[in-house]
Symmetry: C2
Subunit: 250 residues, 2 copies
C-alpha cells in the first residue's frame, strides 16, 4: 500500500459541503466515487485537512488516501482530473510517508473571506463573495484585526453548535484585511479553528466597521465566552480554504 496526498480546489457552490452525506452531492462523495472506480469497485476512503460547509470554496484543500495501485503521482493527478466533475480540480498529487495524515498533521491553515462592497449585486459574484453594500469604516476594520491575533479561547466566536471537545483555545498567527477596488479580502492564518469561527470573526469585524462595536470591547468578549455577544455569522459564499501547511520535517 502507498499513501497519496493531493492538493485540491473546488467551487463549493454546487456541493452540500465537503463531507460525505447520503443522497447529497459532496466533494468527498464525488472523489471517493472516482477512487472506487479506479480500484475496480473496492471502496476507498479519503481524509481531508478538515471539512468545509455547504457553499464554502477551496483553493488548497488537502486530502490523502491509501492505495495498492502503483501508478506514479503524476499519473494520479491526470487520472483523477480526467474523472472528477469540473467543479473539482486536483492541483497536485504526491506520494507521502505512511505516517502522514491530512488532518492530524496540519500545522497551519489559511482562510480568505471575500466581501464585495459594490452598491448593487453582481450576478457573477453571487456564489463567490458576500455582498455587503453598507457603509463601513475600512480603517477601523483593519485596525481591529490584530486584536484577534494570538492565542485565545474563541468560544465567543464559534457556533454554539460547535462539537469540538476539549479546549476552545486556538492560535491565530495573522488576521488582516486588504482592500482591492470594492472588495475586502480578510486573511486568517491559524493553528486551527472552531466551527464557524472565521465567519463569526468577519461578522464581528464588519460590526466594528459599522460602529456597532469597538475594537476595545474584544478582550471583554473573549472573557465572556458567550456567542451572543459576537457579530453574526456571515454567509458561506465568501469563504475560501486557501492553504494548508504541514511540517516539512515529518
Amino acid at each position: 500500500m502507498s499513501k497519496i496526498k493531493c492538493v485540491i480546489s473546488y467551487d463549493g457552490s454546487g456541493f452540500a459541503g465537503y463531507q460525505i452525506q447520503p443522497g447529497k452531492r459532496t466533494v468527498q462523495g464525488e472523489i471517493e466515487k472516482v477512487l472506487t472506480k479506479i480500484h475496480k469497485g473496492k471502496p476507498v476512503r479519503i481524509y481531508a485537512s478538515g471539512r468545509t460547509d455547504s457553499g464554502v470554496h477551496a483553493l488548497g484543500q488537502v486530502i490523502h488516501f491509501e492505495t495498492d495501485n502503483i501508478m506514479s503521482a503524476a499519473s494520479w493527478k491526470q487520472a483523477l482530473n480526467a474523472m472528477v466533475p469540473h467543479d473539482i480540480f486536483i492541483k497536485d498529487a504526491m506520494r507521502v510517508p505512511d505516517t502522514f495524515h491530512a488532518r492530524f498533521d496540519v500545522v497551519e491553515k489559511e482562510y480568505h473571506y471575500v466581501v464585495s462592497r459594490s452598491k448593487e449585486p453582481d450576478v457573477f459574484k453571487r456564489h463567490y463573495a458576500y455582498h455587503f453594500p453598507y457603509t463601513l469604516d475600512v480603517g477601523r476594520v483593519q485596525r481591529a484585526c490584530s486584536c484577534f491575533e494570538g492565542t485565545h479561547d474563541f468560544t465567543t466566536f464559534s457556533s454554539a453548535k460547535s462539537t469540538a471537545k476539549g479546549s476552545k483555545e486556538r492560535t491565530l498567527f495573522e488576521v488582516s484585511c486588504e482592500e482591492h477596488g470594492n472588495e475586502l479580502i480578510f486573511i486568517f492564518r491559524g493553528s486551527g479553528y472552531l466551527y464557524n469561527m472565521v465567519r463569526i470573526l468577519v461578522g464581528t469585524l464588519l460590526d466594528i466597521g459599522q460602529g456597532n462595536m469597538e475594537a476595545g470591547d474584544i478582550p471583554d468578549l473573549f472573557a465572556k465566552k458567550d456567542r451572543r455577544l459576537a457579530g453574526k455569522t456571515v454567509p458561506p459564499e465568501g469563504l475560501y480554504l486557501w492553504h494548508v501547511v504541514y511540517d516539512r520535517v515529518k
Copy 2:
C-alpha cells in the same frame, strides 16, 4: 399603456439561453413569469435586443415590455429585482416612448469574449472564460483583429445554421484584443451580428495566433463565403453581451 426599457445582466450558466422554450429555464421565461405575476396573471411579453445562446452571459442586455401598471421606473427596478432569480439582475429601468423597440432600434452592440490562458483549469472560471492553455502569439492575434473591422459579408464567419434572411453584410466598428494577466479579452463593437459570428471570429483569431492561418488570408476567406474555411466556434462560456447602444434622438 406605457413602455418600460430595462438594462439587465445575467449569468448564462444556469440558462438554456435567453429565448423562452417550453420546459427549459430561460432568461425570457423567468422574467415573463415575474411580469405575469405582477400583472395578476395576465401574460406579458418581453422583447430583447437579441437572443443569447445557452451559457452566454450578459452585462448589458436590453429588454422592453408594455404595461398598464403605473408604478415609477425606480419601483419597476425594485419590484423586478425582488422577484427575479439571483442569476438575473435589473441594472436599470426607465420609461421610454411608445416608438422604442429593444430589437429594431439597436444602433450598436458590444460583445466581449474572455479567453483564459492559464496552464491549468480554474474551477472558478469554468463557466466564465474559455480555457485555452495552448501556445499563442498574442501580437499576431492583436494585429489580425483589424482585418475584420469595416463592412463585409460575414457568411464565412457565421454558422451554416444561420437563419438570417437577406444580406449577410454587417459592419464591425471595432475588433480588438486586450491582454490582462493570463486572460485575453476580445472586444467587438458592431451594427449587428450573424449567428455564432463572434464565436467563429474568436476561433479564427486563435487559429491565426497559433500559426494555423495568416491574417493575409482573411480577404480571401471573406470572398469565398464558406463556413468551413474559418476557425472553429469557440464555446459559449467566454461570451458576454456587454452593451447595447440606441439612437438618442429617437
